[in-house]
């Protein structure tokens, strides 16, 4: 199936060309930061498949990030599996979590869906803390191997996977499946009347979105070479939501930029002042008023203004 190449794809490709070149000019720390930014961006894109495109606000997406990260780490460190088997383990874990929680929580929409996903995510958090023989409990798992071992090299591994998945997301939302997501979002009754199995579409979106988060988590664990359960706590789920809204949930580009930018806002706030929480809070609050449609919303407005003369 062919798609019209649109502004969004042009912007994404331009952004990725930039992201391919820029590490050459950055310090090792900034490459590391950018790696985290790419992963947050990937997470936001995945989350947005469910949120922006299917219209379901999940408040527990940290569980997928953790499923990926913990699945891989448990495989590599605790079970001494080879990387492929570990990835397989992480995928299996993610799939199980996604199917079970998705099946149970997708009976609901709106706030009750959000609360149910929150409940499941907190349950998984509690399990990670409790099953410490497997997960290391609060002390986590450390000594996860990384390949390639240098940050510069690993950046490009992340880059390639993120690039493929983000473009894939751009493509998916233009396939019949993705259009199905949007039909369900806009009017589930009409979608049902058109012959779509609404719950099934939602479940597919939920699982797909979970896999995006899981892959981000899988890449995050070796980047840090250690993980602790804070990546499963509800505040991390909230951050996933927040960065998507900051970027703009209307399209893939917006979510991706949201993830990238959140990292920098967060880091800068801490550099500026001792009261970084206050600073971050004020920045977030200002964004609410100044960029109600996300940062891409501003871009679009500027673009329209420029074009309109």
């Amino acid at each position: 199936m062919m798609f019209k190449i649109d502004n969004e794809l042009y912007s994404l490709i331009t952004l990725f060309i930039f992201l391919a070149v820029i590490p050459q000019f950055l310090s090792i720390y900034n490459v590391r930061l950018l790696s985290v930014g790419l992963l947050y961006g990937l997470a936001a894109v995945g989350f947005n498949l469910l949120y922006g495109y299917t219209g379901l606000l999940s408040f527990g997406h940290a569980m997928f990030w953790s499923a990926g990260a913990y699945g891989l780490a448990i495989g590599l460190v605790k079970l001494n599996l080879d990387p492929l088997m570990s990835i397989l383990l992480a995928f299996t874990l993610t799939f199980t979590v996604a199917i079970v929680t998705g099946y149970l929580s997708l009976r609901h929409t709106e706030i009750y869906f959000a609360m149910l996903t929150l409940a499941f995510a907190q349950l998984i958090y509690a399990l990670i803390i409790k099953l410490r023989d497997i997960t290391g409990g609060d002390e986590g798992i450390y000594g996860i191997p990384r390949f390639p071992s240098d940050i510069g090299g690993y950046y490009y591994l992340i880059y390639i996977i993120v690039f493929i998945l983000v473009i894939l997301a751009w493509w998916i939302v233009r396939t019949p499946l993705g259009l199905g997501f949007q039909a369900v979002r806009d009017n589930p009754y009409r979608a049902e009347a058109l012959g779509l199995d609404v719950r099934r579409v939602r479940l597919i979106s939920f699982v797909l979105s979970g896999f995006y988060l899981s892959i981000a988590g899988m890449l995050y664990a070796p980047l840090n070479r250690a993980i602790t359960p804070d990546i499963a706590f509800w505040t991390f789920s909230a951050i996933i939501v927040i960065m998507t809204i900051i970027g703009g949930s209307k399209n893939v580009l917006g979510a991706f930029i949201g993830g990238l930018i959140f990292i920098y806002i967060n880091t800068q706030a801490m550099n500026l002042t001792e009261f970084w929480q206050l600073t971050l809070g004020i920045i977030l609050a200002l964004l609410v008023y100044l960029a109600p449609y996300g940062i891409v919303g501003i871009f679009e407005r500027v673009l329209r203004y420029v074009r309109g003369g």
Partner: protein
């Protein structure tokens, strides 16, 4: 020259002549310390081979949120140390500059440490409250950052005792010796008086490990005791009523606890309100010797009907101020700065800065120019540095700082102190309670 360095010199003199003449005996750690306890003259400007730019040290603690008290106290003590050092010409003429991050930004701890080192040029990092975070930084520090990292608070034995780390040190006493001493103390003081032992601790590794070490040691010492199933409570539990009544129902007469911070205070106050100490005769809390916790408990809440014992990594009245002026000055200066009596994080983080200073100076003496990381590390290994808690010997085998371990009885502090204090301090030298290097009862 200020009082601080005067006192420092005074202490160093004492130590230099081998005075274990403090009321307490220092153990193997101190006695086997190499002859590095040596004064380095206050440097003059322009020592050969010393870089001109300031020396950057980074620190990372919980600065915000429920645990923010730890970071703010540690930061105040670090600033105190740096002010003192800089006022006296810095380290070999290099002034110290600080940079800091907030550990409360949990997912970003590693990024933030990397930033301080790789982006802001920190040559040393001190800090970390959470044991999970301390273990999490191991791969980053050992393989990538490769600079000396001095942990000052996180207490898990796994950090130093499971494997020898190259770059990671811990200046603060870890949990195992404190728990071992608790068991020994019970045997010494209460053999025959107590029969049933209960535990209430936080529901994560620190809580499990503490109970495993304490009960394991105590079982060997007093096999006739009955050990009840331990109770573990989720972190930041606000409401301990149900546990308190469970303990009461169990008939325990000795209660061991590893609750800490606000949780320790909340539990203790609720225990009093619910009359737990009508049945429990001895209460031992491994983290009660934290002045911020004691402040939250308050003088009025010190019960008479129970023996309450507290420990920690430092107690502001020990070593006694009259025989060990360094501690007196530290307490005075810290109070001057913050208005509060220093909790242990303050003492350990303060000492970490002086350990850095001393290691650099010792290495410089050997080399004649500014030492590289390897030389600093070898200087840190086996270093003895004087901190508010007394001389701290950094064991070369495991990079663990050793000093006296204490337990003290809780007393009303008034009228001298507005907070309850630990009185009747029992002090064991590290040799009596610290296991062999790289061994631990906790499974690695």
């Amino acid at each position: 020259m200020t009082q601080v360095s005067d006192s420092r010199r005074e202490w160093v003199k004492l130590a230099g002549v081998g005075v274990a003449g403090l009321a307490v005996g220092y153990g193997v750690g101190f006695l086997t310390a190499p002859e590095r306890v040596r004064e380095v003259e206050t440097p003059v400007e322009g020592l050969p081979g010393v870089p001109d730019e300031p020396l950057k040290i980074g620190y990372i603690y919980f600065m915000t949120g429920t645990l923010g008290t730890y970071g703010t106290n540690a930061a105040a003590a670090i600033e105190l140390a740096v002010e003192e050092i800089n006022r006296n010409g810095g380290i070999l003429g290099r002034t110290i500059e600080l940079t800091s991050k907030d550990e409360a930004d949990r997912e970003r701890v590693l990024d933030n440490i990397s930033k301080m080192v790789q982006d802001e040029g920190a040559e040393f990092v001190v800090g970390l409250d959470s044991s999970g975070d301390a273990l999490k930084v191991i791969p980053l520090v050992e393989d990538e950052l490769q600079i000396p990292f001095i942990v000052t608070h996180a207490a898990t034995p796994k950090l130093t005792e499971c494997a020898k780390r190259r770059f990671i040190f811990r200046i603060s006493m870890y949990e195992e010796p404190i728990d071992i001493m608790a068991a020994q103390l019970v045997k010494e003081l209460y053999e025959g008086d107590v029969t049933t032992v209960a535990n209430i601790g936080p529901d994560y590794a620190y809580g499990y490990d503490s109970w495993a070490i304490f009960s394991g040691t105590l079982q060997d010492l007093m096999p006739d005791l009955e050990f009840l199933d331990p109770i573990y409570t989720p972190l930041f539990t606000t409401d301990y009523g149900t546990y308190i009544d469970q303990i009461k129902a169990s008939g325990a007469d000795l209660l061991f606890s590893s609750l800490w911070g606000g949780d320790a205070a909340t539990f203790f106050k609720q225990a009093i309100a619910k009359g737990l100490f009508d049945s429990v005769k001895v209460y031992m809390n491994a983290m009660l010797g934290a002045t911020d916790t004691l402040e939250a408990i308050g003088n009025d809440n010190v019960p008479d009907n129970v023996d309450v014992w507290g420990s920690g990594r430092y107690w502001f009245l020990y070593p006694p101020h009259d025989v060990y002026p360094l501690n007196r000055l530290f307490v005075e200066n810290f109070r001057g700065k913050t208005g509060a009596y220093p909790p242990y994080v303050a003492a350990t983080s303060y000492t970490a800065i002086y350990a850095i200073k001393k290691a650099i100076e010792s290495a410089y003496v050997m080399k004649g120019s500014w030492p590289d990381v390897d030389e600093i590390i070898s200087a840190l290994e086996g270093l003895t540095v004087s901190g508010p808690m007394g001389p701290v010997y950094i064991r070369p085998e495991d990079h663990q700082g050793l000093y006296d371990v204490f337990w003290g009885r809780l007393r009303r502090g008034s009228p001298t102190y507005p907070i309850p204090i630990l009185d009747e301090l029992v002090v064991y030298p590290p040799g009596k309670v610290v296991p062999e290097p790289l061994t631990t009862m906790v499974s690695c």
